[in-house]
Symmetry: C2
Subunit: 364 residues, 2 copies
């Protein structure tokens, strides 16, 4: 067997090695159950403590207030692009979107496709999304049912430097690529949702954290499986949940709590990001296109300015055990996704490789 | 570690031991990839062969004609209850449902909730679903866009003895609890769908097999993630698929092909079902409520006639390593789900336990 690589994929992405090892050790036979977690009835005394513990650990980790429901769903953030307006827009009949990258654009387009009264209140499209929009309460229609943002833009490598102030309008945030990477004040949000496959678990479970008073606006004729209230009333078990993926999320939550929680996780993530951004700022071979106050701590984008060199970089890096550094197909260049599970040593090796590559591949 | 038990759960349910052992062995580091399958980008050279192979193996296993698309989705069969009418009903504007148990009833109610012109063409509700309706072409509106059935009723333990003849009307079948348990002529169906967690994989992936000419009727303003055509055009990767669960399905397909395919699987399943039904028919302590020509090969229901004895049965059986024999909470009694992965020995042990229980617990 070859060594494990450093995997800079934007998602699905690295999982903590101790989590994988624990999962492997108990895959065939979990505890005293006599079966795999994969085989457990979701309504059994074997499984129910697992999903209950997953929720309890996440509540502890994120300090989720009691008036928020925690849902473990399927379908990815892309399904929530439809579920958000279907569950919320009836509050006032209209909603406002901020388009700061590809996924927030997709969320906006989905709400439009469903026929709703939605507007794009702010965008940085004309700047190729190299920063997030500066937002104030005045950006939004005062009677909007909600304001939708993508908190961290995986593809462009940007993030809001602070939680936007939307006044009394509930803020809905796609946090797929920054969830549980640092502490966040959940009470500032109406809804937080996130696909799991970046910072939380393998692909296949979608987290929705929703304030209870926002559960009462679901469209009467929407697909039942997309109704947050139905899922909340059934403890995420209206139908069979993705049991094993939820179990994996539980192991990840345990791992972070074992390290000391989200304050420690943030320190570790800052240290990695500072190393990489610090190097980028110290030289002029690579260009980091994102404006400094919008930099993502999770996804670091850079280019050489020469697409052929960019291609060679990703290819040579993969040979050196640094995989999936190619930027998203829609933007090119390079992207290093350095989520919770990426060790500091992985970023050290990346910076060392970047230096070596720059020395060995002078620009014409 | 205690021994593995015989798990008669209706789903999630047993997986083949060799599949679990293989998954455990390669969980941390898959092949030459240097990473877990759980960590692989779905658009990587590491992962793409896995999903491609899963589809190829399933096509081989089920002998799926070329004019059918195979989709690996999320959300379970319950999400397809909404997706089916949203994708198909525009063909003619109305659809017919057969209600032969709880899940087919839910599918019908979901289509009604969405506001569509649907009728229940046949039901066995008045007989407490102890058999499936006898269906002929005349049961249905000739201009129905489709006829929906649930091919095997998990809760009641019934199954259609043959594929119903719906003439030119596309037949849509929920096969969640009998998929890949025996050969089936896919060309007789317009759409087959199935949650994976009974015969195919852990919970978290939903199979949809759809005839290509039925992809053109999606509602213009439906959730994109529920559109079969969008998923077909993107090879099930419009967004991140449940990668690891698809990998598990691939291992299960390999296991069945290694045994000899669905003809052999059917023989093995018949042998198990014959043993259990043969015993039930040979005695009068237990009652098997399902009419003989509607008996399911996958889910075998029986009662003692005394709810207290039923409860004791499930409890004593669990202590003997025969778990999850309690009937569905909506019907009571006992249910032995004997899917592909249940060994013959498990059914032998169950029958031996049933004999012992009957001897030791005489009815008053």
């Amino acid at each position: 067997m070859i060594d494990r690589v450093y995997n800079f994929s934007a998602g699905p992405s690295m999982l903590p090695l101790p989590v994988l090892e624990k999962a492997a050790a108990e895959l065939v036979n979990y505890g005293e159950s006599g079966m795999s977690v994969m085989e457990m009835s979701h309504r059994s005394a074997d499984y129910e403590p697992i999903i209950a513990e997953a929720e309890a650990l996440l509540r502890k980790l994120m300090n989720i207030p009691d008036n928020y429901k925690v849902l473990f769903l399927q379908g990815g953030a892309s399904t929530q692009f439809a579920a958000v307006p279907m569950n919320l827009i009836r509050r006032t009949g209209k909603a406002d979107y901020v388009v700061s990258g590809q996924f927030s654009g997709k969320a906006f387009k989905e709400a439009q496709k469903l026929g709703y009264d939605v507007v794009c209140s702010a965008t940085t499209k004309d700047d190729n999304f190299d920063h997030v929009p500066a937002l104030t309460k005045d950006c939004f229609r005062p009677d909007a049912a909600y304001v939708h943002i993508c908190y961290n833009n995986t593809i462009y490598g940007t993030k809001y430097p602070e939680i936007p102030d939307t006044g009394d309008i509930p803020l809905v945030a796609d946090m797929s690529s920054c969830i549980i990477s640092e502490p966040v004040d959940v009470s500032r949000f109406g809804v937080i949702y996130a696909g799991a496959q970046k910072n939380m678990a393998p692909a296949g479970v979608t987290l929705v954290i929703v304030r209870e008073d926002l559960l009462d606006y679901a469209e009467p004729n929407m697909p039942t499986m997309l109704e947050w209230k139905t899922m909340a009333e059934n403890g995420s078990m209206y139908n069979t949940p993705p049991c094993y993926t939820i179990y994996m999320a539980k192991l990840v939550y345990e791992w972070i709590l074992g390290l000391g929680g989200l304050d420690v996780m943030k320190q570790m993530n800052e240290k990695k990001a500072n190393l990489l951004y610090g190097y980028l700022d110290s030289q002029d071979y690579y260009i980091a296109p994102v404006k400094k106050n919008s930099r993502s701590m999770m996804n670091v984008t850079f280019v050489t300015g020469n697409p052929d060199l960019d291609k060679k970089f990703a290819s040579d890096a993969a040979k050196a055990g640094l995989k999936n550094l190619k930027g998203h197909r829609s933007v090119g260049g390079m992207r290093a996704s350095i989520y919770n599970a990426m060790p500091y040593e992985g970023v050290e090796k990346l910076v060392a490789f970047m230096k070596q590559f720059a020395a060995e591949n002078p620009k014409a």
